[in-house]
Amino acid sequence: MKDWLMRLMDFVAPSGSEAPVVKALLDDVREAADETWVDALGNGMARKRGHGPLLMLAAHVDEAGVMVIDIDPRGYLRLVSVGEVHARECVGRQVRFTNGATGLVHADPAKQGDLDFDALVVDVGARSREDAERIAPIGTAGAVEVPVVTWGQSLVTGRAVDNRLGCAVAAEVFRKLAASGRNVCVAFTAQNAVGARAAQAAAFQLEPRYALVIDGASADDMWHDHPAIGLGKGPVLKVMDRATVVPLEGKRAVEDAALRLNLPLQYEVSREAWSDTGGIQLARAGCVAVGLGYPVRRAGAFAMTADLSDAERLVDLAVATAEAWLG
C-alpha cells in the first residue's frame, strides 16, 4: 500500500481537478468491477453486481488548494482558496499547479496582521501578462508543494495523505468484497473539500442500502497525554460531524465487528469537518451511512501524517462490517 499511496499523493488535485487521480483509481479497480464510469461532477464509480443489498464505499479524491483568479499586467498571479486554506499557509511556499507549472508565493510587506488572499501574489517567472496566461491561466488550480517522507515502516508524511490513503483503503475493500460475490460499488468522490458537493449525486445514481465512507480523522496526540485520537491506535468510528450523525444501527455494526476481530476502535466527534457521509445518507429516501477513518495528524491544509498500520486495520474493520450487513 505504501508505494501506491505515494504515487497517489503525487497528484495535485484540488476540488474540481480530480480527473487524473480518478482515472488512476478506476484503472486500479477496473479488473474487479463489472463497469466503471465518471459522472458529470467528476465522481469516479465502479460497480460489481452480486448478491444481497447494495453497499456503497466512498472516499473523496480531492484536496484543498488554491486557484488563479486574476493575472496582473506585470505577470503576477492572484489566488483564491479552493476549500479551507489560510492565506498565511501559502506565504513563501512553492505552489505546484495542475498543469505542472510551479510558482512562488509572496506576501505584500505593507500588509501586517492576519493576511488574506488579497495580500498575496504568485511569481511564475513570467515576463508579462501574456506570458503568465500561457503558464497558468485564470482558473488553474494548484497546491502547496510538500515533499513526501516516510518514517520507519508505516508512517508517511506529506501532502494529501488525507484522503489518498482513504481512496487506497476504499479500493482495497471494494476488491475484497467484489471477490466474495457481494453487491458492492465504490465512489471516488469529487469536490469534498469545498463542502461535500458531489457525493450526494453519486449516491443518487447508485441507490445503496448501506454506505461506508472512508476519510481521515484528526489526531490530537501531538498535544494531549490522553488524546481523543492517536496514530497507531487503530481505526476510527466517526460519530458526528457537521454533516452527519452516525445511525445507531451502523454504530453497533461497527462496534460488533471490531469486537469480533479484536481491533481497537477510536471515536471521532468533529466540530469542523463536513463529510461526504451526510450527503450520501440523505440521497433520495436515505440509507444507512457510516463514516470510518484512519487517524491523521494535520499541520494545516497541506501537510499531514498517517500510520499505514491504522489503514490496514481499517480495511479489515470495513470488510467485517460490510459482511455483517450484507450477509
Binding site: H226, V239, V245, P247, V269, Q281, L282, A285
Partner: protein, 353 residues
C-alpha cells in the same frame, strides 16, 4: 377533548437527540398504531404512519411532520480528573447550560452528571461578566477518573435531565417541549381525525435529526412525495425584549407561518380553516427559508407545497421550555379540520399562480 396530556409528559421525560431517537419512537409507536393502517421506519429513523383517506382514484397525499429529536450534547474528550468536554448536536445557549443536570448515555447505562462552572467565590470580576462558551464547560460525573475512562466513550450522547413541571393555567415547563409538543399535536389530531371523513391519504411522520439540519425531513419528503407537506414546530412565545414579529403570546393561538418558504394557498386554507372552526391563531412572518422541517419539504425532489404551524413556547432551547397545553390542543384541531377538507381541487390549485 384532549387525550394525550399524560403521554406528552412521558415524551418530555424520554431521552432522544439527533441520531438516537429510538426511545421516543418506541413511546409513540403504540399510540400511532391506533390510527395508522401501515407503520414503518425509514433508513434515517423517521417513524411513518399511513392513515388512508376514502375515495376512488388518486387521492390527495398530505404529509404532516413533528420532529421528535431534542437538542443534545456529545462527549468529545475525557480530561484529567474524569471531566467530560462537549460538542452540541443542536443549538444550545451555553449560558443556560451552566449548572445544568445531565445524563450521559453509555454502553453500560445512564450516568448522572452536572455541567460545571467555577463558583462566584473563585471567579474574578472580569470573568463573571463574560458568557461561558461550550468549549469551556465540562460535565462532572463525581466519579474517579479510571471509572470514567472505563465506562464513558468519546461520542457518547448527553441529554438534559429535567422532569416536566406543571405551572399555572395548564402550562407545562421542561426540556424537549421543542418539539415533543408537536408530537402531542399530531397524536391529538389523529384522534380527532378518526371521527372525520377525509379523502386525503395522511402520512403522519415523526421525523428525526431536525435539530442538526432538518435531515429526517429531507428523506421523508423525497420518499413520500406528498402533494402538501405541513411541518408542526414550536415558535417563540412572547417575552420582553423580543421584536413584535418574533413574539407570540401563549394561549394566543396557533402560529401559522407566512412567507416565501410556505405555499400561499395552503397558508390561506389554514387561515380560512381557523376562522371557520374558531381556532385562535396568530400569523408568523418569515422572509427566508424557515428553521423547521418545512424548509426541507419545499425543495424536496420536484418541489412541494409546504406549510408550517405550531404552538408558541417560551425559553426555547433551554431546560425550562414552557407551553400551554391549550395551544397544543388548538393546533391539533386546526390540523385535523384542515386535513379533513383537503380535496383534489385544492391540489390542482397549487400550480395556479
Amino acid at each position: 377533548m384532549p387525550k394525550y396530556l399524560s403521554v406528552f409528559k412521558q415524551l418530555l421525560e424520554a431521552h432522544g437527540g439527533p441520531g438516537f431517537e429510538e426511545d421516543v419512537r418506541n413511546l409513540i409507536l403504540p399510540h400511532l398504531s391506533e390510527y395508522a393502517s401501515q407503520i414503518w421506519t425509514d433508513p434515517l429513523g423517521n417513524l411513518v404512519g399511513l392513515v388512508p383517506g376514502v375515495g376512488e382514484g388518486r387521492r390527495p397525499r398530505v404529509l404532516v411532520s413533528a420532529h421528535i429529536d431534542e437538542i443534545a450534547l456529545v462527549v468529545t474528550r475525557i480530561e484529567a480528573g474524569g471531566f467530560l468536554r462537549l460538542a452540541q448536536a443542536g443549538g444550545f445557549d451555553p449560558r443556560a447550560l451552566v449548572g445544568q443536570e445531565v445524563l450521559v448515555h453509555t454502553q453500560s447505562g445512564r450516568i448522572f452528571g452536572v455541567i460545571g462552572a467555577k463558583p462566584p467565590h473563585l471567579t474574578p470580576p472580569s470573568e463573571r461578566s463574560k458568557a461561558a462558551k461550550l468549549e469551556d464547560l465540562y460535565v462532572d460525573l463525581a466519579l474517579p477518573e479510571e471509572e470514567v475512562r472505563s465506562r464513558v466513550r468519546i461520542g457518547d450522547r448527553v441529554t438534559i435531565h429535567r422532569a416536566p413541571l406543571d405551572l399555572l393555567n395548564g402550562r407545562i415547563a421542561g426540556k424537549s417541549v421543542d418539539n415533543r409538543a408537536s408530537a402531542a399535536v399530531l397524536l391529538e389530531a389523529l384522534a380527532l381525525l378518526k371521527g372525520m371523513a377525509h379523502s386525503a391519504d395522511l402520512y403522519a411522520v415523526f421525523t428525526v435529526q431536525e435539530e442538526v439540519g432538518l435531515r429526517g425531513a429531507r428523506t421523508a419528503g423525497f420518499g413520500l412525495a406528498p402533494d402538501i407537506a405541513i411541518a408542526v414546530d414550536v415558535t417563540f412565545g412572547a417575552f420582553p425584549g423580543q421584536a413584535p414579529d418574533e413574539s407570540f403570546p401563549l394561549e394566543g393561538g396557533v402560529a401559522i407561518s407566512f412567507g416565501p418558504n410556505l405555499h400561499r394557498r395552503v397558508f390561506k386554507r389554514l387561515v380560512d380553516c381557523a376562522e371557520k372552526y374558531r381556532v385562535p391563531y396568530q400569523i408568523e412572518l418569515s422572509q427566508r427559508p424557515v428553521g423547521a422541517d418545512a424548509n426541507a419539504f419545499q425543495i424536496s425532489g420536484p418541489g412541494l407545497a409546504a406549510a408550517l404551524i405550531g404552538p408558541p413556547i417560551r425559553y426555547m432551547h433551554t431546560s425550562v421550555e414552557t407551553v400551554a397545553y391549550d395551544d397544543i390542543w388548538q393546533c391539533a384541531r386546526l390540523l385535523a379540520h384542515y386535513v379533513a377538507e383537503v380535496d383534489a381541487a385544492q391540489v390542482e390549485e397549487l400550480t395556479c399562480y
